[in-house]
């Protein structure tokens, strides 16, 4: 339909099946072509930053879980690391390894969801999504085993983790990491060379690296554009400097690359977990830190590589038991910056796919 017609405004969301939550996109369409968009967010703005400033440090851990509810482990870990930096305490070895295992598992779970959603937005009738959820459920089972929760774990603590792994965990995890590559191959068989998926994603929504850097895009979205920035490598935190893993990058920066990027990162995460399980030492999992803490005055910025990108916590302490300022550098929000450039000129259906391939979580955007 190449006919140029009168543009009209289409309101996508906030309750739309593929907005990943309550995102609203005011799209101006010309026929099917998107000629202008305005993202409207805030439908899930729960005021987490304010709530966190009104609560004591340890009570903010559940809040951090609820930031990005698909990657709760990563977020609580980043927060806990920030407070540990403020307090100047160190973490036992075993706790560090457990954290890494948990965070990388969380990354796989999160990427599974992201890739599944991309497939859904391209229009498969939930099949890849269901397959990915099948494996995601296994990861959730592992988390359930450790934390007794499936989604929001509240597992990280200042100076370690809440409690040790149950003894059944490691065999189950080993089984999972042995089986997971086979499942990833199955996804590739189902999707990676599917012609329809190729024509729907290749060359669509290209994000050039210069724009990505200028817009402070981070995470898989940035790496799919060819910029090898991964906090795990460029500013190693925790014990990531002890593992061998690659930072996969892709070059085109289109939807297909963003999808493949996540698949590759899953494989790398499996590699990290495998090493971490092999090296997992015995010992304490928590250095005995009081529940209520009063960090000394000062500010601290800690950033980690969350599944969606560079997650930062900026904490200001005034010496009381509540953070004076609690700011989250939410990767999802900032990854939205180049959305307009990426979407404009594409069809409505492409817009949905492009939007999905950035992989946002509203809880983190709106906070």
């Amino acid at each position: 339909m190449a006919l140029k017609t009168e543009p009209f405004v289409l309101n996508i969301g906030p309750l739309h099946p593929s907005t990943h939550g309550v995102f609203r996109l005011l799209a101006t369409l010309d026929g099917e072509v998107v000629i202008d968009i305005e993202p409207i967010i805030g439908y899930l703005h729960r005021g987490i930053e304010k709530l966190a400033e009104e609560r004591e440090y340890q009570k903010d851990i559940p809040l951090c879980d609820r930031l990005d509810y698909v990657a709760a482990m990563s977020h609580s870990m980043a927060y806990v690391m920030a407070v540990e930096k403020l307090l100047g305490i160190s973490v036992p070895e075993r706790a560090e390894y457990i954290r890494v295992i948990m965070v990388e598992l969380q990354r796989i779970a999160s990427h599974l969801l992201a890739v599944g959603s991309i497939a859904n937005e391209i229009g498969t009738f939930f099949t890849p999504f269901m397959y990915m959820f099948r494996e995601r459920e296994r990861i959730l089972d592992l988390f359930d085993m450790v934390c007794g929760q499936r989604l929001l774990y509240n597992y990280m603590r200042f100076g370690g983790v809440s409690h040790d792994l149950p003894e059944e965990f490691i065999p189950a995890l080993a089984k999972f990491i042995n089986q997971m590559p086979g499942y990833i191959d199955e996804y590739d068989q189902l999707l990676a060379e599917n012609e329809i998926l190729l024509v729907r994603t290749k060359g669509i929504g290209v994000l050039p690296p210069e724009l990505a850097i200028n817009c402070s895009v981070s995470g898989p979205t940035l790496r799919a554009s060819g910029v090898a920035r991964d906090i795990r490598r460029c500013d190693p935190y925790s014990i990531y400097d002890r593992f061998e893993f690659d930072i996969p990058t892709r070059t085109a920066g289109d939807c297909y690359d963003r999808y493949r990027q996540r698949i590759e990162e899953m494989r790398q995460s499996l590699r990290i977990i495998r090493q971490a399980v092999e090296q997992l030492p015995q010992g304490k999992v928590n250095s005995q830190v009081p529940i209520r803490v009063r960090p000394p005055q000062g500010d601290v910025f800690v950033h980690v590589e969350a599944p969606r990108g560079e997650l930062g916590f900026y904490l200001v302490s005034d010496g009381s038991e509540k953070p004076y300022r609690f700011h989250i550098r939410a990767p999802s929000l900032i990854n939205l910056t180049p959305l307009r450039e990426m979407i404009i000129g594409w069809k409505l259906a492409d817009a949905i796919v492009i939007f999905g391939s950035i992989d946002i979580i509203m809880g983190e955007i709106d906070r």
């Binding site: 099917e32 229009g123 259906a349």
Partner: protein, 369 residues
């Protein structure tokens, strides 16, 4: 005065039936209605169960044995639901649209032979009738989209119209090839002429017809009309209650309709050994259903411009070539034995598909704003 024209022909064909013409009409109309609705119900059940199996889960199994009553529960529930009419939009058209969309699909079955001669009216323009009547359904869909006063439904309707107009042409051309081979427009005669199923004689025709039929029935990968992830529910977004039930019925009736046409034209219709002809017809239809559901469980969706490009750049040339080749075969080699034509045509299909796939590109780059 006796009924003239086509109607008289129909009654003449049906004269071996018990009762007079009107009774035949009535009985057959009821049979068709029952057949369509029953098949749709089973189809819905089958689709949900099979999709479940594809997604390694059981699918609906609580209502009735194996969940067989699930579609009935759905229907009863939908029918007793409040019938909402959007505050804006066109109320009259909103009311009419489901009927306009559904009735043509039902009308198509008038010429579908369930058995040798077992059809409501064996029109001598059978295939033309099918194409003509089914194209009316698109008007109904457009009416739903427009009357809802909702932009999503309008987009869905626009997509449907574009898709239908585009895919009608390759479909028509592929059917024309069948007509050339069979030498008749009447479906019953075409079935009768199929000593081997035309899927073997017309592999290219079948491929094109099948793809076009997927598009006509708005099935994956051409289900843009109600693309969940883009335009929520498409043209029926504002419908609820009875009217939604009719639209829902219409969608699945279209599937039944394309399965019935594919069965009649390419799969040998009611012909088959051992089993009663009607059963053969149903079995072949369900084989088509299975493939449709399987495709739905696997494939992503194309984009609207790609759908159009696919029709115009891929299917249409192939359909034309197919028509020319078939015409040549019919004219220059009318007495060709099947065992020689089948391999020739299959080879031709493979060669053409590979060749065309090399040159063919789905368009759709970014539009400069």
């Amino acid at each position: 005065m006796t009924a003239a024209g086509t109607i008289s022909q129909a009654s003449a064909l049906a004269s071996d039936w018990p009762g007079n013409f009107w009774l035949h009409l009535l009985v057959f109309a009821l049979i068709i209605l029952a057949f369509v609705i029953l098949t749709v119900i089973i189809l819905i059940w089958l689709e949900r169960r099979l999709l479940g199996r594809i997604q390694v889960r059981p699918g609906p199994n609580r209502a009735g044995p194996f969940g067989l009553l699930q579609p009935i529960a759905d229907v009863v529930k939908i029918l007793t639901k409040e019938d909402t009419v959007p505050g804006w939009g066109d109320r009259l058209v909103f009311w009419l649209a489901p009927l306009v969309a559904f009735v043509p699909v039902l009308l198509v079955f008038a010429v579908v032979p369930f058995w040798n001669g077992a059809l409501l009216a064996d029109l001598n323009i059978g295939i033309l009738y099918v194409l003509a009547v089914s194209s009316v359904a698109s008007v109904g869909i457009f009416m739903t989209g427009w009357a809802s006063g909702n932009k999503y439904s309008l987009i869905g309707a626009m997509r449907d119209i574009a898709q239908l107009i585009s895919y009608e042409i390759p479909m028509m051309l592929s059917l024309a090839a069948v007509v050339l081979v069979a030498g008749s427009l009447s479906l019953n005669e075409i079935v009768a002429a199929q000593d081997v199923p035309y899927i073997l004689l017309q592999p290219m025709g079948f491929t094109i017809f099948f793809i076009a039929a997927l598009a006509e029935a708005n099935r994956t990968p051409f289900d843009l009309v109600e693309a969940d992830s883009e335009i929520v529910a498409g043209f029926n977004i504002e419908y609820s209650g009875m009217k939604f039930a009719i639209l829902y019925l219409m969608e699945y009736s279209e599937v039944v309709f394309i399965a019935a046409i594919a069965t009649s034209l390419f799969l040998g219709g009611w012909r088959g050994p051992f089993l009663p002809p009607f059963l053969w017809f149903v079995i072949k239809m369900f084989a088509v259903f299975f493939v449709l559901i399987w495709i739905r469980g696997t494939l992503p969706r194309l984009r609207i411009d790609q759908v159009m490009a696919f029709a115009w750049k891929f299917l249409l040339p192939l359909a034309l070539i197919n028509l020319v080749v078939t015409g040549a075969q019919v004219v220059f080699w009318p007495q060709a034995p099947y065992w020689s034509l089948v391999p020739i045509n299959v080879t031709l299909l493979a060669a053409l598909l590979l060749l065309w796939a090399r040159f063919f590109r789905l368009g759709g780059s970014r539009v400069g704003i």
